[in-house]
Symmetry: C3
Subunit: 424 residues, 3 copies
């Protein structure tokens, strides 16, 4: 690493960041056992992909048995960046000094994790050490937010079920219960979604969020068709594909409308295909397709000029479209590096392209997508290293920025932009 890159990295590590997307459970945000780390789907899915039977980590087995199994598989995935997250968290958060986790030493780390997990407000110490000011949650639409520690966590309304599962009576029952009114029509859905958003905003929610399949096309809703589909669902009938689609496009529009009404951004995470590999481990069954195009979203971006869409994509083949749509549409804001693109091999070229062509005030640099706060440190540090590298090699060395300008840019991406865009 050059002196320049090293100086930039040091300074970037010192910027307190906002993490605008995670799956941290507010009632249990930090790890209480080593399994809370090793059971992260990245490790179980990679170990399974490398040959471990899915049954080996069945929740019916004891944690000790599962941990032993996983530890025995780590060599096969020790090249991956995900493995490096584990070792960095072990070292920096638990003082674990060995280079690899082995059958001989895992008990030591397990004790450290368990001991730390019992400390009061351990999650706050972890976030402080990680230099993260706020972490967004991804809350079920009917979640009770009263207990959320809003000194560090920011609620976020997850809308996947609302948009894609409205035909499910249980989803409608939950929605009616939360919104306080029966779901009998498209109009009642719109009102219920507004009620949800009103509730979330009361608890300082940062945004709505949804993950979308690559073929989704959010055009102007056909309210009549959606109404007919809703009527079918209310009669308990299965929906045909076009009916399900009409209902989803309508419900998606209802969420966008609520975002407009309450002036909240809508986090779009585009490209996932669910359950491609049903025989996989929990959390390791979804994949993606490179097909589709952000052009399908142009109509949405035009119809909601006053809603900020922070957009993530799951395939690097969408990255250029995202940067160019953000270059032209004021309300499109590239956000982080999602899931299967969250490796330096994809972060660095995408980050470079965004920095070269999108106004710097529009870039939401990174989010962790983590399930336990312990992964915020290694994931954000990975990103901070990518950012230092790209700024050093592509901006400061070629003379397009000086060091202080590069740090201003870094500060926008890590902190100022998410604060401003999400109203944190």
């Amino acid at each position: 690493m050059s002196d320049l890159e090293s100086r930039l990295l040091d300074a970037i590590l010192g910027i307190q960041a906002i993490d605008c997307h995670s799956h941290v459970p507010p009632e249990s945000p930090h790890a209480q056992s080593l399994w809370d780390l090793l059971g992260y789907h990245y490790y179980t899915e990679l170990a399974h992909s490398a040959g471990m039977p899915a049954e080996s980590v069945d929740p019916g087995r004891s944690e000790g048995v599962r941990i032993t199994e996983m530890v025995s598989r780590l060599d096969s995935i020790s090249n991956t960046v995900q493995h490096s997250w584990l070792m960095e968290a072990a070292r920096d958060l638990f003082g674990f000094r060995a280079e690899r986790l082995t059958a001989q030493n895992w008990q030591e780390l397990a004790k450290q994790v368990a001991d730390a997990g019992r400390q009061k407000d351990r999650y706050k110490a972890v976030l402080a050490k990680s230099n993260l000011e706020k972490v967004f949650l991804t809350n079920r639409f009917d979640e009770d937010l009263a207990g959320v520690d809003r000194s560090v966590f920011v609620p976020c309304l997850r809308t996947d079920d609302l948009v894609f599962q409205l035909a499910d009576p249980e989803v409608r029952r939950r929605l009616a219960a939360k919104a306080g009114a029966e779901i009998t029509s498209t109009d009642s859905v719109r009102k219920a979604v507004q009620e949800l958003m009103r509730y979330f905003v009361q608890y300082s929610a940062g945004s709505a969020a949804i993950s979308l399949p690559p073929a989704f096309s959010p055009g102007a809703p056909d309210e009549a068709a959606a109404g007919r589909a809703m009527a079918q669902a209310l009669k308990g009938k299965d929906l045909a594909a076009d009916e399900a689609d009409a209902l989803a496009v309508f419900a998606f529009d209802a969420v966008a409308g609520a975002c407009r009404q309450f002036q909240k951004p809508f986090q779009l995470m585009i490209g996932v295909i669910r359950n491609v590999y049903p025989a996989g481990v929990s959390g390791g069954r979804d994949l993606l397709s490179k097909q589709g195009s952000l052009a399908a979203y142009a109509d949405l971006f035009r119809r909601y000029p006053d809603v900020d869409f922070t957009v993530s994509v799951l395939s690097p083949t969408w990255a250029h479209e995202l940067a160019t749509f953000a270059w032209i549409f004021p309300n499109v804001k590239p956000s982080g590096h999602w899931w299967y693109t969250n490796v330096p091999a994809h972060i660095e070229p995408d980050l470079r392209a965004r920095l070269e062509a999108v106004p710097q005030v529009k870039l939401v640099g990174y989010y962790s997508d983590m399930y336990k706060v312990e992964f915020g440190l290694p994931k954000f540090n990975m990103y901070r290293r990518c950012l230092a590298r790209v700024l050093a090699r592509e901006f400061v060395e070629p003379g397009r920025m000086n060091e202080s300008q590069a740090l201003e840019t870094a500060r926008l991406l890590l902190r100022e932009n998410p604060k401003r865009i999400f109203g944190v």
Copy 2:
């Protein structure tokens, strides 16, 4: 920058280049006011994308007001490579020494631009300073070329209207007026296009050119279907989508035929979708889709083996297809780095891939696409830096070329290939 890269860059800056695609207006080629620079669509669209209302740069407002507005927005886009073009042009062409353009100093630059703009043949001095020998224009098909200064400019027949707007009576009227014969049939279109090409060739035109949507598929024309579509148009009827398509495929073929007849290349610029964001600023409303494939052009390349197609693509996802089609088809020649791909993040990997797999005699390195000659310097310099970097790091350092071979290659890309291919 390594000593090697620095030496290569110095030598590459010394190669007088050919700019085979621009939108320079021959009657007003250089900037006469600071607005001629700041009003470039890259700046207004990026500023708008970063929050500036489109109305702020309405032509109804005074230049001073528009400039003040734009200058106040530059911080938000100061990370972009487009911003670096502006500052490099200001520094190298106008002696402007400040690092950023601000409310305090823009009047100084404005005076320098206005003073320089009044110099006789200022554009020639700018092109000499930029080390550009010739700059291609993009002329309307009925443009009068008599006044073009052919000591530095090369006409080029733009055919977008001819191919996609033949159903418009005004286009047919202009075509008839220029070609000297009524447009009454497909046959009369073919003849008129030949007349246009004959006229352009008299004025030493370098090529025909067209920009194409990503879904365009230039198969063998169905002349009968095109004839029926033309008959409908002549009756003033709106064309159905398949009729419009048949007419466009036919008219495109007529242009390709004229290129064959007059032995001129056809510049294909593939991938733009027009008016995706109608609320944008002028010049900042078009985008792209990554969908489609160069495989749709294979039939064209087979049918016209004696026409050189210099091809640009608007999405990096098409870059590999372009390189491989150029690797196999003698008449396919990759050309430059167009518009939304014209940033180093995309230029460098695409350039490297072309240089590793396409015969060097086939590569048209770069063109500016500029609207005022002042942008030739920073745009070509950006490319020259990319070229020096790629040649140094991927060819000379790994021992695949020596320095003198690398410079021979650079000379082909910047100068010899466009001269030979376009007959300059």
Copy 3:
């Protein structure tokens, strides 16, 4: 090159590799004349692409005439990585010292090649010098394997004809002759394919292999539809597109079934479109499309969990899908860098992405795809350099691996993984 990269490269050059895909003819594996090198399709197609008429290398002309022609064209393609393979082979295998091959010096190299070609078992010396332990062949399904020198070669059952040409009576005749039973039904095809695999396995075959068009979709076969298509073919009738498709999907499934039965991997090489440019030189008429998606193969990967699919793709736009499918599916193993992706510009980013996210025990690093053993050295050396570079810059320098771990990873990719996966 840094000291680190240089040390890694030295060590990587010392790893004896397995080449799991080539087209080396077992009866004539090494070059016996300079034309055996210069006639490689890469050189003739690139020279043709750069302007050489296809007729110039017509087999009807003498080798001397063809060589003279090709040598005169080398300058135009001297930038390409393929050209560097030629010069590296000439230098390292034939002691040729000149930097370029010219009209003045080619006779010298021709003599060296001819002399070496007459040495007994020359191919073994070439492979030893190239540090290749085993080279896979690509055998016709009815090839006699008795004469194959299995001390260095591994047979592999090529199934393109079986899957896509079953409607051809000649293919069915060859299949019946080899399998010893008439082809009268889908059932007889399944049995015949099993017989072929049984025969190949007797000769220590490493796998079955096939190249596939980008639009192929290997779902569960409709055996009845395939049977009807077979009945049409048996009557000598041409198949409609859907019939041909049903037959291909069925035959593909028959091969996958035989792989399961004999516990052999199936090499899938996805993305080629045949004969896109029929006027090209031999071997230089095929291209690709970026369209399609690996998602079309998910059903196959689910139905055959016990078959290893080693997968190559022909477009870099498929690379991320391949890495992510291998990240999730245990039976998907990324393999090498095929044909139009076999240049450092694509190898390096794809290799980096695979190493960052796919378990290292699943990666088949490289294969040569060569037609004469002389190209194993420069092709594998190119890959070894890419591997050293990526490991040094992206893994050891950033502290994610130490040197010894990096070499362990390299050893897996070049040697241990192909040995284990293919049972060599």
